[in-house]
Amino acid sequence: MADAPTIGRKGASFDVAAFFRRYAALTALIVLLAFNFAVTPNFASWQTLNVNLTQVATIVIVSVGMTLVIATGGIDLSVGSLMAISGALAPMIFLSSFGLSYPALGNALAFVAPVAIAGMFGLFNGWFITRFRVQPIVGTLVMFIAGRGIGQVLTNGNLQAFKNPTFQFIGLGRVFGVPCQVIIMLALVAAAAWTLRSTLFGRQILSVGGNERAAWLSGVPVASVKRWVYAISGLCAGIAGLVVVSINSSSDANLVGLGMELDAIAAVAVGGTPFTGGQATVVGSLIGALLIQLVRYTLLANGVPDAAALVVKGAIIAGAVWSQQRGKPT
C-alpha cells in the first residue's frame, strides 16, 4: 500500500486506451453508422431512423429498469413475463363492458392499471429476494415462469385482437413526427440517468451494489432500495408491454416480451454496466441497445439472414465483456 495517493497518474496526456474502453460501445456505434452511411442504400433517411428507433424502444425501456437492478448487483429475469401480463391486461380493460361504456376512463385505466400491476409484481420480486435472501437470478426466475402463466390464465390463452387508436397512440402515434414510444424511451433514460446521478435513491442504489455491507453499516436501507429497483424494473416492463401490444394491434400472452430479459441484459452488458454492481450507465444501455439493433439492421439491409445476425449479436456481447475485463484493475 503506497503512502502517497496516486495523484495525476494520467497527467495531462490523453489516455487513448482508457477512452476506448470507457466509450467502446459508443465508438462502435459511430463506426457502424459511418459504415452504413457509406454502404447501405437509403440509410440517411427519416424512415430508417424511425424504423430502428421504433424497434429498439421497447428493449431500451426495459433495459432502463434492468440497469438499475444490475447496479445493485442483481438481475431481473421476469421482465418479459411482466410485459405479457401488462400486455394482456390492457385490452381486457378497454374491451370490457366498463371500458366500452366509458371509453375515456377505460383507456386511462388501460394505461395506468397494467403498468401499476407489473410494478407490484416487481415489488414482489424485490420482497421475495430481500425477505428470503435468495439470489436475484433465482428469485426473479419464479416470476419469469409464473408471470407468463398468469398472462395466459388471464386471457385463457387466447389472442386478443383490437383496434383502439387512442390506446395505440403509445405504439403507433407520433409527436412532431417522432414516434411516441421513442419519446417515452428518451424520457425514461433521462429520468433514470438523473436519478442515479442526483438523487438519494440513486446514490443508495450504487452504494448497495458497490458494497452492500458497507452501505448497510452506514445506515442505507438496503432491503428497501432493492425492493424499489425491482418495482421500477416491473414498471418499465409494464410500459414496454403496452407498447408491444399497441404496435401489434393484438395481445398474445404466449409471445409478448418473449426473450426480452436477455435482450435487455445484453443491452446493459454492451453498454458497459458491470454485472458486479456499484456502477451503472443508463445512457450506456441506450447505446448498447442501439448498437445491437443497428448491427442487426445493417446485416439485414445488406442481405445477411437474421439467423446469422444472432451470431454477430453474440459476438458483440462477448466483445463488450472482453473490453470490460481489460478495463478492470488487476
Binding site: 500500500m1 503506497a2 503512502d3 502517497a4 495517493p5 496516486t6 495523484i7 495525476g8 442526483s198 438523487t199 438519494l200 435513491f201 446514490r203 443508495q204 450504487l206 452504494s207 458497490g210 458494497n211 455491507r213 458497507a214 452501505a215 448497510w216 453499516l217 452506514s218 445506515g219 442505507v220 436501507p221 456499484g278 456502477q279 484493475p329
Partner: protein
C-alpha cells in the same frame, strides 16, 4: 527416519504478498505423535504458514522437510496424498451427500464398475467408531451437528493415512461437551502416532490438550516450547510482543492531556451475544477514549457490533445518553448518534468504486437531501471541510477511494461518521494496516476529537494504543469483562494479567479504581 527425528521441519520460510512480508524466516517443528499449538494474533502469519505447508501458496524461500524428506507440495491435494490433512474452520465437505460418501469422496470403492456401497458404508462406520462416533453413515452429512461433521472430516483425514492433521479453529463453533469429544479424538490420534497442529485462540484449550506450543507474531516464529513450561502470561506477552516490564513510552500519536470526562454517553451491562460474548460491560463518557482490550476471539468486535445494532445482543442492557435502547439495525443506532468504523475496512467500510465524496457522505446523505434530491453544494462544502480538517490526501474529492492509501481511506471513513455529528464513535482497530506516519496522525486525531467532546470506544490489539490512548480500559476475556482499569493503572502488564487470569488478580484489584 529414526523415531526421534521430527516429523515436520519448516525453516526460514519467507513469503511476500504485494509488498507485505507475510512470513519472514518463520519456522515450525512438529514431532511425530504430538499435539502442537500454533498461536498468534491476527496477521501473525499462522494461516499463511499452513497454506505454504499444504501447497496452497508457494513460498518465496525456505525449506520444508516432512517425514525426513524435503517436500514441495504443488497443491493441498498433493499434500493430502503426502500425509498432511488440513481440516478447516468451515468444513469443506459436501453437505447433501452421505457421511460415507464424504469420507470416500474422490476414491470410491468400485465393484463391477459400480460403487461398492456396502464396503464403503461398513468401512466408514468402522472408522468413525474408532473415534467413538456411532451414527448412520448413510444419512446426509448436513443432518448432523457441526461437531459430528468435524469428526467426519477428521475421519476422512485419517483414512488418507494422514501423519499430520491440521485443525484451524476447530472449536469455534462447538459447545463444551463437543469440545471435550474433539479433544478425546485428538488424544486418540496422538496415541496412534498422528501429529496434530492445533490453531486456537482459546488459551485454556491449548493447556488442556497440547504438548508444545509455537507462537508467531508479525510473520516470525517468536517462541516454541513445551506447553507446561510456558505460563499463560508469558504466552500472551509473546503473542502481543511485549516484555512484561518494558513498554515503550510514547510510541503512539496519543499525547498526554486527558480532559475531564463528561456525562455518560454509553453504558452497556450484561451483554450476551451468541456463543462468543457471555457477560460484557462497557461505559463511555463524553470527552473520553475508552479502550476495549482482549485477545482475538474474546468478543470485542461482537460487543461493538451489538451496540451498533449490526448483530443485536441476546441479553443485557444498552443505554445511550441515559436512555435504554436496543438497536436492531445500524440505521437505528446511527439515528441515536452512534458511528462505527469496522476493523475490516475493505469488506465493511469503503465502497471501492465510489469517489471520496460519495464515500464520505454515505451516512449523512439522507440529511443532505430535500425532496429526494441531493444538495450537491452542501455535500461539497462538507466534503471540503473534512478533507481539510483531517488532511486527507487525494487528487480531488472525485478520486475513487480504492486508489487512496490505507491511512487516507481510514480518514475518509472517520469523516463519514464525524460529519453525522455522533455522540459515540466506535472504532474497531482504527490503525490496522496503516503505515506508521499515518497511524500517529490518526491517533492524534482521535484524541483531538475526544477532547472536543466525542465519546470514543476503541478496540485495539495493539497494547500501546490502549495503554497510551485510552482514559479507561475494559478488558474482555472469553466473552466476559474481566477488568475495568483507569488510565493510570492500565499498564501493559495489568492488561495482560487480566487477559490471562480472567481478572482474578490484577484485574480485580483495579476494578473501581
Amino acid at each position: 527416519m529414526s523415531p526421534t527425528d521430527p516429523l515436520l521441519v519448516m525453516r526460514d520460510v519467507n513469503k511476500r504478498f504485494q509488498g507485505v512480508q507475510a512470513l519472514s524466516a518463520a519456522s515450525l517443528e512438529v514431532e511425530p505423535g504430538e499435539i502442537m499449538a500454533l498461536v498468534g494474533e491476527n496477521g501473525a502469519g499462522k494461516s499463511t504458514m499452513i497454506k505454504v505447508l499444504t501447497g496452497a501458496y508457494r513460498r518465496d524461500s525456505g525449506s520444508i522437510v516432512f517425514g525426513g524428506e524435503p517436500v514441495d507440495f504443488a497443491s493441498p491435494q498433493h499434500a493430502q496424498h503426502g500425509g498432511i490433512s488440513p481440516i478447516y474452520q468451515e468444513i469443506n465437505l459436501v453437505p447433501f451427500r452421505s457421511v460415507a460418501e464424504n469420507i470416500f469422496l474422490g476414491r470410491e470403492y468400485r465393484r463391477y464398475g459400480l460403487l461398492d456401497w456396502g464396503r464403503m458404508n461398513a468401512e466408514a462406520a468402522d472408522l468413525l467408531r474408532r473415534f467413538a462416533v456411532e451414527i448412520d453413515v448413510r444419512r446426509p452429512l448436513m443432518d448432523f451437528s457441526t461437531a459430528i461433521q468435524q469428526m467426519v472430516a477428521i475421519a476422512r483425514a485419517v483414512s488418507f493415512k494422514a501423519r499430520l492433521v491440521i485443525m484451524d479453529e476447530p472449536t469455534s463453533s462447538l459447545d463444551e461437551r463437543e469440545v471435550s469429544v474433539l479433544f478425546d479424538v485428538m488424544r486418540r490420534l496422538r496415541a496412534e502416532g498422528v501429529a496434530v497442529i492445533f490453531i486456537s485462540h482459546r488459551l485454556d484449550e491449548l493447556y488442556q490438550v497440547c504438548d508444545r506450543v509455537t507462537v508467531m507474531r508479525d510473520g516470525r516464529t517468536v517462541m516454541a516450547g513445551r506447553m507446561g513450561d510456558v505460563d499463560k502470561l508469558h504466552l500472551i506477552a509473546a503473542m502481543l510482543g511485549r516484555d512484561l516490564e518494558t513498554v515503550r513510552a510514547h510510541s503512539t500519536g496519543f499525547s498526554g492531556a486527558h480532559a475531564a470526562a463528561g456525562e455518560v454517553v454509553l453504558s452497556a451491562e450484561g451483554l450476551q451475544i451468541g456463543r462468543k460474548v457471555r457477560d460484557a460491560r462497557v461505559e463511555v463518557r463524553e470527552r473520553q477514549i475508552v479502550g476495549l482490550a482482549g485477545l482475538l476471539g474474546s468478543g470485542r468486535t461482537e460487543v461493538a457490533r451489538a451496540i451498533f445494532g449490526a448483530d443485536p445482543a441476546d441479553a443485557g442492557t444498552i443505554e445511550l445518553g441515559g436512555r435504554a435502547v436496543s438497536p436492531r439495525e445500524p440505521a437505528e443506532a446511527i439515528a441515536l448518534g452512534v458511528g462505527y468504523c469496522s476493523e475490516d475496512r475493505k469488506a465493511d467500510g469503503i465502497v471501492p468504486d465510489m469517489s471520496v465524496r460519495e464515500n464520505m457522505t454515505l451516512g449523512i446523505l439522507p440529511r443532505l437531501t430535500s425532496m429526494g434530491i441531493v444538495d450537491e453544494a452542501r455535500q461539497r462544502e462538507i466534503v471540503d471541510r473534512f478533507m481539510k480538517r483531517l488532511a486527507i490526501k487525494a487528487s480531488s474529492a472525485e478520486q475513487k477511494i480504492r486508489e487512496l492509501s490505507g491511512g487516507n481511506q481510514q480518514k475518509v471513513l472517520l469523516a463519514r461518521w464525524l460529519c453525522t455529528d455522533p455522540k459515540l464513535l466506535i472504532l474497531d482497530e482504527p490503525t490496522r494496516g496503516i503505515d506508521v506516519g499515518a497511524k500517529a496522525e490518526i491517533q492524534a486525531l482521535i484524541r483531538e476529537l475526544a477532547d472536543q467532546g466525542l465519546g470514543v470506544l476503541m478496540i485495539s490489539s495493539e497494547l500501546e494504543e490502549i495503554t497510551e490512548g485510552a482514559d479507561r480500559v475494559f478488558v474482555l476475556s472469553d466473552g466476559r469483562t474481566v477488568a475495568d482499569l483507569p488510565h493510570a493503572e492500565a499498564s501493559a502488564a495489568a492488561i495482560m494479567a487480566a487477559m490471562a487470569h480472567g481478572g482474578a488478580e490484577a484485574g480485580e484489584e483495579a476494578v473501581n479504581g
